[in-house]
């Protein structure tokens, strides 16, 4: 018996090594179990090696693709550059739309905050700020849209000016920085009265007829007083800067920084329901 075992030792070992795992497989195949300690050991041993190999292979491939195999890279770069330029242009256009939308929203909010006035929206289509002539802004609304002379024109930040000349579908607006523009205002804080007159160029205006005894300090906000027959009361006009109170005289002087930058305004509203009271004298004809 022993000699038989010795004689067929190899065959017996092979059969045992084959049959035992097959039996294990057949016994457990229908009921797969969780990973054994051996499975976890093999994973623990092979994982770091896998990571190292993966890192090496990935690094080699990456180096090859980034620094050696650059065929077509120039064409791709050119195509991507074009795409970037297109996207930049699109982005700029969208930014403009966004800014315009924000301005329109502010203008709409401004108009809605004054429900007593009916407003007609308009877009600025031209400006004429010639120092030798009038300070005018052209808008794309005219008589056909219900716009009339002397109607106040406002932007989202406040007063822009008044309608000066009319066309059927456009109108010129005399802006508050024109020399011929004079707007009756009130200091919002102290309720003191004065006039804001333009100086013939975009930029600061002059505060006139502010009594020397009136309470006026730099930073005061000016709003329309509603007494000039053109502008309804309460519209923002500007901010007081550089107050000059001389040693004598009835009035004090100051500069006014307009609430609306006439060089940048793009959308405006014409307050069409505000009309010049019949009893008041018409505004002086502007003198270029």
């Amino acid at each position: 018996m022993l000699s038989l075992l010795k004689r067929y030792r190899e065959v017996i070992i092979v059969v045992v090594l084959a049959v035992v795992p097959l039996g294990v497989f057949l016994a457990h195949a229908r009921h797969p179990s969780d990973r054994t300690a051996l499975d976890r050991f093999v994973l623990a041993v092979t994982s770091p090696v896998e990571k190292a190999i993966d890192w090496t292979v990935s690094g080699a491939l990456s180096t090859w693709q980034r620094y050696v195999w650059l065929r077509g890279a120039h064409d791709r770069a050119v195509a991507l550059s074009r795409t970037v330029n297109d996207l930049r242009a699109e982005n700029a256009e969208l930014s403009q739309f966004k800014a315009e939308n924000e301005r329109l929203e502010r203008l709409l909010a401004f108009a809605r905050s004054r429900p007593e006035h009916r407003a007609v929206g308009a877009r600025v289509i031209g400006t004429r700020m010639d120092p030798k002539g009038l300070q005018l802004v052209t808008i794309d609304r005219g008589a056909d849209d219900g716009v009339r002379r002397m109607m106040p024109v406002v932007a989202a930040d406040g007063v822009l000016g008044r309608v000066h000349t009319l066309g059927a579908s456009s109108a010129d607006v005399l802006v508050l920085s024109d020399r011929n523009s004079s707007i009756a205002v009130r200091v919002e804080r102290s309720r003191a009265r004065a006039n804001v007159r333009g100086q013939g160029a975009p930029g600061p205006c002059r505060l006139e007829y502010a009594l020397r005894s009136d309470d006026l300090i730099e930073g005061d906000q000016l709003v329309t007083s509603g007494t000039d027959g053109v502008f309804p009361r309460g519209l923002p006009v500007g901010q007081v800067t550089h107050v000059k109170r001389g040693g004598f005289g009835l009035y004090q002087a100051a500069e006014v920084l307009p609430a609306v930058d006439v060089n940048r305004v793009e959308e405006v509203a014409v307050l069409v329901s505000t009309e010049v009271p019949g009893g008041l004298p018409a505004a002086r004809a502007p003198v270029p």
Binding site: R9, V14, L17, P21, V24, F25, H28, A29, V45, I53
Partner: protein, 173 residues
């Protein structure tokens, strides 16, 4: 001394090759094709080691394959032993010492191992969960790639693990 370490060294080599297979498989088309680089170790054991030592080594490599595969235990161990026996019995027509012969044996062994695994798994599992025969195409590609890599594996094994240079070809001699 190194002869005593033949099986342990072969096991370490199989472990490294398992890791290499997993890493390279990820790089090769994201896993669309695979490699079975540990199978040439079983073929090498069948060609280069005495019967008892070799079959024990093959069974242990099979255990590692089972552990790495995560499937039902025993399947790849059994198939590894069968591959070992098959190499012992069938290496005659091949010149297993040559690169081409070793590559052919490794490729055939890889294919038979994949085929056997599909067959046995289909036999024991429910039809809905059983692997389809469509996997044989993938097994074939795996065999070809493994065969291509086999000469390099043999070159490495011959230098790291001392071959016994079996003189008598044939089953269990």
């Amino acid at each position: 001394m190194r002869a005593l370490l033949r099986v342990p060294l072969a096991l370490v080599a199989a472990l490294l090759l398992l890791a290499l297979s997993a890493a390279v498989t990820r790089q090769l088309a994201g896993g669309a094709v695979s490699l079975a680089l540990a199978v040439p170790v079983i073929v090498w054991l069948g060609v280069e080691t005495p019967a008892i030592e070799g079959v024990i080594g093959a069974a242990l490599v099979g255990v590692l394959l089972d552990a790495a595969a995560g499937g039902p235990g025993g399947l790849l161990t059994f198939l590894s032993v069968m591959i070992f026996v098959g190499v012992r019995a069938g290496a005659g027509p091949f010149d297993a010492q040559s690169r081409l012969g070793f590559a052919l044996l490794s490729g055939a062994a890889t294919f038979l191992m994949g085929f056997g695994a599909i067959l046995l798994t289909r036999y024991v599992t429910s039809p809905s969960a059983a692997p389809g025969w469509g996997l044989l195409g993938r097994v074939l590609v795996e065999s070809l790639l493994t065969a291509a890599a086999a000469p390099a594996i043999r070159w490495a094994l011959d230098r790291v693990v001392v071959p016994a240079h079996r003189d008598q070809p044939g089953f269990l001699r």
